[in-house]
């Protein structure tokens, strides 16, 4: 157990060193949410409506936080797939390293990375006029929910990489796979303002649960409607990620073990 933690930490440090030595990727992942804030907040924002009233930029920011967590999927999946394709995983597996360390190290490093991304985005948000209005305690709780979602997404990413293996393919499928989840959700538009079927799908989207919950915790506008998922956003914001972890972590572990077949 101790060696598993020590090896996990060794691998976490390795993945963090990657971020330091090759920061280009991080910049790419930063630029996307910032671009969305600028385009939606300033270009389309003037024509956007928030159900129940309120400032659109303040409505938008929690959505962009969640979207950033989702796009971490690309970093996770590409990182794991690159390791697999370059044979360095074989070298790791031929050392006495704890078998779990490859995945726990990835998961922990991605969490640290998400923390870094979150801090940057919070500052960006404050710069464009967003703020938390319910005190620091609830704001931290909101950040906690975001990180919980990120952990769930990490495991989806690890599984995806082990399933697809080829890093180029992973790079190509991540964005088309992730984008609909942000589009058909409450990230940019309130579901009440969507056609009924799409609105319902949006409300049940796992991302929407976290977005709605953190809007509530930050005291931002757009607390959408009186549907069941909207009323129980906080519960769903915990339940969805836990469910995703409970599904994808065992799947990923099984796939990883199958490397030796």
């Amino acid at each position: 157990m101790t060696t598993a933690i020590a090896d996990g930490w060794t691998m976490t440090r390795r993945n963090m060193t990657h971020v330091v030595r090759a920061p280009e990727e991080l910049i790419l992942y930063f630029s996307l949410p910032i671009m969305f804030v600028l385009v939606f907040g300033y270009v389309f924002g003037s024509g956007m409506q928030v159900a129940g009233g309120g400032d659109y930029r303040e409505f938008l920011l929690p959505g962009v936080f969640v979207m950033t967590m989702l796009y971490g999927l690309g970093a996770t999946a590409t990182g794991v797939a690159l390791d697999l394709s370059r044979g360095v995983v074989d070298r790791f597996r031929s050392t006495p390293m704890a078998r779990s360390a490859l995945m726990t190290g990835r998961s922990a490093a991605d969490l640290l990375r998400a923390l870094l991304e979150m801090s940057t985005l919070l500052v960006c948000g404050l710069l464009v006029g967003w703020q938390w209005r319910q005190g620091v305690g609830k704001a931290l709780l909101a950040v906690g929910l975001l990180l919980l979602l990120r952990i769930a997404i990490t495991w989806v990413g690890i599984y995806l990489a082990l399933l697809v293996r080829n890093p180029d393919t992973v790079g190509v499928i991540v964005f088309p796979a992730a984008f609909p989840f942000t589009a058909i959700s409450n990230v940019f538009v309130s579901p009440e303002l969507m056609p009924s079927v799409i609105g319902t799908i949006s409300e049940w989207n796992p991302l929407s649960a976290t977005v709605a919950a953190i809007r509530e915790l930050f005291g931002n506008p757009g607390l959408g409607g009186d549907s069941w998922p909207a009323e129980h956003a906080m519960l769903l914001a915990v339940l969805w990620p836990v469910l995703l972890i409970a599904t994808f972590a065992p799947l990923a572990v099984r796939r990883y073990q199958r490397l030796s077949r």
Partner: protein, 329 residues
């Protein structure tokens, strides 16, 4: 009783209908180099992956450094080093960071890992490049780093899977020297290669494998004798003279030459290379047969295969040619 550092008994591994390994047997005594020689797809890498605990097998038994590969994989991993066909180091980390990382994974303390990394970097002539990303290294440097990473804790058994494929001759010689040094220090080495010459240079014993089975085993000299060893090739100017030349050459070399009338060439195995060549030149000259070209040629892997397996390994020809080309470039 000798204890062997590597034992494989009747190893079998199938992927669907394909038998990657089929009753594969191997014993390697301590402190020796054993070569696995065969074309791509013969099962060399499969055997190495099984013996290094990376791959499960379906049938048979294997021990490495005295431990059962299936039941005590952790004990095996603590005592082996693996250098794969493709330099398996972290390409973003620097050379030093790579070695420190693997030092930690081999359970060295942080300080020990740092010291060991510095030691290996110096020994492998990488200290000047220690701070650069491994991804920026040349092929030869990467292979050396890869080798250094498998020597963190001087392994009892070192597995080298095609360690010089794609390297230029100078880098190849460097790798060979490093391997010889390790063996002198008592490490046992299992080496896979497509090159007869490499096995000849390094290995005490060689197993030739084809379609997942060992088809011949012996010292390099024994193997060369089995495959016919060196050959003399003569191209005559006039095709009509070819059979007369063959009748002259046969008693000198003690074997019936193979004739290829289309290119007016005869080819005959020879035991004593230089004396044989002198005899043949003199005999042809005395008989007044005009010779366009004459030379000694080493047995090729293809010929070894033709001889040992009775078929030309289709898969062998192209990868071997590609490998050779990479060496020249």
């Amino acid at each position: 009783m000798t204890t062997f550092e590597v034992v494989a008994e009747g190893l079998g591994k199938r992927y669907g209908p394909t038998r990657a390994l089929d009753t594969f047997d191997l014993t390697v005594p301590p402190g020796t180099v054993h070569g696995l020689l065969g074309p791509n797809g013969a099962g060399k890498t499969t055997a190495v992956r099984i013996l290094t605990t990376l791959l499960r097998f379906d049938t048979g038994r294997a021990t490495v450094a005295g431990y059962d590969v299936l039941r005590r994989p952790d004990e095996v991993r603590a005592r082996i080093g693996l250098t794969g066909q493709y330099a398996a180091v972290d390409e973003i980390l620097s050379g030093r960071q790579n070695l420190e990382l693997f030092g930690r994974l081999f359970r060295l303390s942080r300080r020990e890992a740092r010291r060991r990394a510095a030691e290996l970097l110096e020994r492998f002539g990488l200290d000047e490049a220690a701070g650069r990303s491994a991804g920026e290294y040349s092929g030869g440097m990467r292979r050396r780093l890869d080798l250094a990473a498998s020597l963190i804790r001087t392994p009892r058994v070192l597995f080298l899977d095609e360690p010089t494929t794609g390297l230029d001759p100078r880098s190849r010689n460097q790798v060979w020297d490093l391997v010889r040094g390790l063996v002198a220090d008592g490490t046992t080495v299992l080496l896979t290669t497509q090159y007869l010459e490499e096995a000849d240079q390094l290995a005490d014993r060689i197993s030739v494998i084809d379609a997942g089975r060992v088809v011949a085993e012996g010292s390099p000299d024994q193997l060369k004798a089995m495959t016919g060893g060196d050959r003399i090739e003569v191209v005559v100017r006039d095709a009509a003279e070819l059979s007369r030349a063959a009748r002259l050459v046969a008693p000198l070399c003690g074997a019936e030459p193979e004739l290829d009338p289309e290119v007016r060439r005869l080819s005959v195995p020879v035991v004593d290379r230089v004396a044989g060549l002198v005899d043949v030149v003199r005999a042809l000259d005395d008989a007044g047969i005009a010779v366009e070209d004459i030379g000694l040629r080493r047995a090729t892997l293809d010929e070894a295969f033709l001889h040992l397996t009775g078929h030309r390994p289709d898969e062998a020809r192209e990868p071997v040619a590609a490998g050779r080309k990479a060496e020249v470039a």
